[in-house]
């Protein structure tokens, strides 16, 4: 007999959907109508059949390993052609754009020829636009090898999170422009480690849904990087009347 699972019941579990006791974090917005019924049915089946649970876990693992595969570092290319070509190849494979020093932007959408890339073997890359790419912590290896990178655009990247930001200190010498607009996983905790980037002149932190206090964060980041122009929220944004804004950190009770 397996350990009694919280949701095993003879009677249809009404509270199964709302088990927030151990989770502590609020769930996402509840989908409506048919989608909701479908999800309820799926949960019902998952709670009762190990096969369904195993299949769903397998599908989830497949999604995760897909992202990992896309972010594999191409050490072979790096050894043979150098870090610039390897970085450019990685970004273009993911669907982004690269700008070599003294050249025009090479975008994967507009097509590019690998031979054209090879001609830039010794030319450093000065700008990378990896917006909407599935780049993650491991994939960042390819970008951190570009020691002359001046501009990095990571807008709306779904897998760029606070951990990735903590790696950016390796580009502190050259990076002048950084854009993180719209990344769903970045919070003010990751923004705190941008203080290494003392050469940064333009920073875009607008539209970050995971930042709890956009206005206050903007002020603190401006204080932290005095020579940088910070684009983001207005200081008054997020200042609503009283009790609604007393959110966040329900998961960590500081015992008073």
């Amino acid at each position: 007999m397996a350990a009694p699972r919280a949701s095993l019941h003879l009677v249809a579990p009404k509270w199964n959907l709302g088990t927030s006791g151990i989770r502590g974090l609020s769930s996402a917005v509840t989908p409506e109508g048919n989608q909701r019924k479908g999800r309820m049915l799926l949960q019902f089946l998952t709670d009762r059949f190990y096969d369904v649970e195993a299949i769903r876990q397998y599908l989830f693992q497949k999604q995760v390993s897909k992202v990992h595969k896309e972010n594999r570092s191409s050490t072979g290319i790096k050894k043979q052609y150098g870090p610039y070509i390897a970085g450019a190849y990685f970004v273009l494979k993911q669907g982004g754009a690269v700008k070599f020093q003294g050249e025009e932007w090479i975008r994967s959408k507009h097509g590019y020829s690998p031979l054209q890339l090879l001609s830039f073997q010794a030319v450093p890359i000065e700008a990378v636009d990896a917006s909407d790419c599935a780049i993650n912590y491991e994939g960042l290896d390819n970008l951190l090898a570009l020691k002359e990178l001046q501009s990095l655009l990571l807008q709306r990247c779904p897998h760029v999170d606070d951990w990735c930001l903590s790696r950016l200190h390796q580009l502190a010498n050259s990076l002048q422009e950084l854009s993180l607009a719209g990344c769903p996983r970045i919070s003010e905790r990751g923004l705190a480690c941008l203080h290494h980037l003392q050469n940064l002149r333009r920073l875009d932190i607008s539209d970050l849904p995971a930042v709890s206090n956009p206005g206050l964060t903007q002020i603190l980041v401006e204080e932290m990087l005095p020579r940088c122009e910070v684009l983001g929220a207005e200081w008054a944004q997020g200042l609503k009347s009283g009790p609604e804004q007393q959110s966040q950190d329900t998961a960590s009770p500081i015992p008073a």
Binding site: A3, T46, W163, R189, D249, P255
Partner: protein, 486 residues
């Protein structure tokens, strides 16, 4: 078959009752009886806890392969890795016993939550490195279908350790070892320190080491709940109760040198319920001692340390609870977002908490000033006399601060060498330890859990070699000292 018949009879009984009901007055009576009958049927069918004499659902099972004493982050981590590394799936029944399901005195929940790789012992560095990896990929390790992803609220702000003239050489050496193991740490001179963090007073600082990646602080409660949720879905049993007794059996064996030793085996663990004399003897194959600050008491129950001093039988487990205070204060002029977890030359430490210029910090007292660990009362004078002066000297802005609250927690302090104890006991052959980490248990818990699970399942450490942290070092007198204890 009997149960099926019972259900049918009860069902028929319901229907029969329903048909014969005339007056409206007896309807509420009928619904009550139906729900009662339903409850009885539920407990009788498989999946319910049916005991003909009385309800035993609160008691642990009568047999369990592994019993983990202590449900904090280390105990849960061992349970998780046991379930993850076992072959085939579902082979081992694991029971986690903790006497307080609210974790009111557990070190995990009261911890400040820091994680660093700046240790002097290579094993500690490797443990921390893996744990940081675990935290980063926590949603791949601890994903449960249909439950929201975990957010450990990691602040990658790094640790800043300061050293005076005396400690500068040791710090340089430590940083060399840390870099060799793969930690990203850099050394800073006082001038560089002043440039980077202008709010520091570098008076008396000869050298500083700053962690660039993989260091910071996170929410320990989230890790605990995430582990708990995952291992519940993997089929681990939980029980709230106190371990009061181990039933052991001994056998005399001869070593290769001809010396006679008495080896013990634990056969049963007696788990006593809260506020009652009721107890359940759980028959087990292995016991894992992850009781944190109270591991010494649990070890004594198994007879560890009962013998003439100086012998292996007489070597106690030197883990005892030590009380540490944490203070939470507000300082409007204090350092900003870039504040790392700073540990001063005097031992005082602090870190930023949130965005509102709030900070958490404290200091480890010297041996003479050790507070009485009998309760978790906070001594506010300790802050005034021992912590604030050092903080105000190092960060002048802290001269005007206001303490908002404070709490106390226990370190599972290893009085021998302040490093963890991992692995089996040489004489009590089926008791394994995962305790004694003296303040850095939380940050090494995932890696230690994996190491203990490997030891249990495969008989040796496979990924990180922790043979220098075995119990036998207490008898042999080999201290494995950790110099960077905060």
């Amino acid at each position: 078959m009997f149960r099926g018949a019972l259900w049918l009879l009860a069902g028929r009984g319901c229907v029969g009752r329903g048909l014969s009901t005339r007056s409206g007055g007896s309807t509420p009576d009928w619904t009550e009886k139906v729900s009662e009958i339903k409850k009885k049927i539920q407990s009788a069918l498989p999946g319910g806890a049916w005991d003909p004499l009385y309800d035993t659902s609160h008691l642990p099972p009568e047999h369990s392969d592994v019993v983990i004493v202590g449900g904090g982050v280390l105990g849960l981590s061992v349970a998780y890795w046991l379930k993850r590394l076992e072959k085939p799936r579902g082979a081992i029944r694991v029971l986690v016993v903790d006497r307080d399901h609210t974790y009111s005195r557990a070190s995990t929940g009261l911890s400040v939550g820091g994680i660093r790789q700046q240790f002097s012992l290579p094993e500690n560095i490797q443990l921390s490195l893996f744990s940081v990896d675990f935290l980063r990929n926590i949603n791949e390790y601890l994903a449960v279908v249909d439950d929201p992803p975990l957010d450990v609220q990691f602040n990658p702000s790094g640790y800043l350790l300061l050293a005076s003239e005396k400690g500068a050489a040791i710090m340089e050496n430590n940083v060399k070892v840390q870099r060799q193991e793969g930690a990203k740490v850099c050394l800073m001179s006082p001038e560089q320190l002043q440039n980077k963090f202008p709010w520091i007073n570098t008076d008396g600082v000869a050298l500083a080491s700053y962690g660039l990646e993989g260091e910071g602080w996170f929410d320990p409660w989230c890790l605990l709940q995430g582990l708990r949720r995952k291992i519940q879905s993997l089929g681990v049993f939980f029980c709230q109760g106190e371990v009061t007794r181990f039933s052991t059996s001994s056998s005399r064996m001869q070593t290769s040198g001809g010396k006679e030793m008495t080896l013990k085996r634990i056969h049963e663990v007696h788990v006593k319920m809260d506020h009652s004399l009721e107890y359940q003897p759980v028959e087990c194959a292995l016991v894992i001692n992850a009781a944190g600050a109270w591991s010494g008491q649990v070890a004594e129950l198994a007879g560890i340390g009962k013998g003439p001093p100086g012998t292996l039988e007489g070597t106690k487990l030197p883990v005892e609870p030590r009380k540490r205070y944490v203070y939470f204060w507000h300082c409007p002029e204090g350092p900003g977002l870039e504040t790392p977890f700073m540990a001063d030359t005097s031992g005082a430490y602090f870190r930023r908490e949130g965005l509102g210029h709030n900070y958490l910090g404290g200091c480890s007292p010297t041996e003479e000033e050790e507070p009485d660990p009998g309760n978790l009362e906070v001594d506010h004078d300790f802050f005034q006399d021992k912590v604030w002066p050092h903080l105000a000297h190092r960060v002048p802005a802290f001269q005007s601060l206001k303490v908002r609250s404070a709490w106390a927690g226990y370190y599972d302090y290893n009085t021998f060498d302040q490093n963890g104890v991992v692995g089996p006991h040489p004489l009590v052959v089926n008791m394994y330890f995962a305790t004694g980490f003296s303040g850095h248990g939380l940050q090494q818990a995932p890696a230690v859990g994996r190491a203990v699970a490997e030891m249990v399942l495969k008989g040796q450490f496979q990924t990180i070699d922790l043979s220098s942290l075995l119990f036998s070092r207490f008898y042999l007198g080999e201290k494995v000292e950790e110099r960077n204890i905060i």
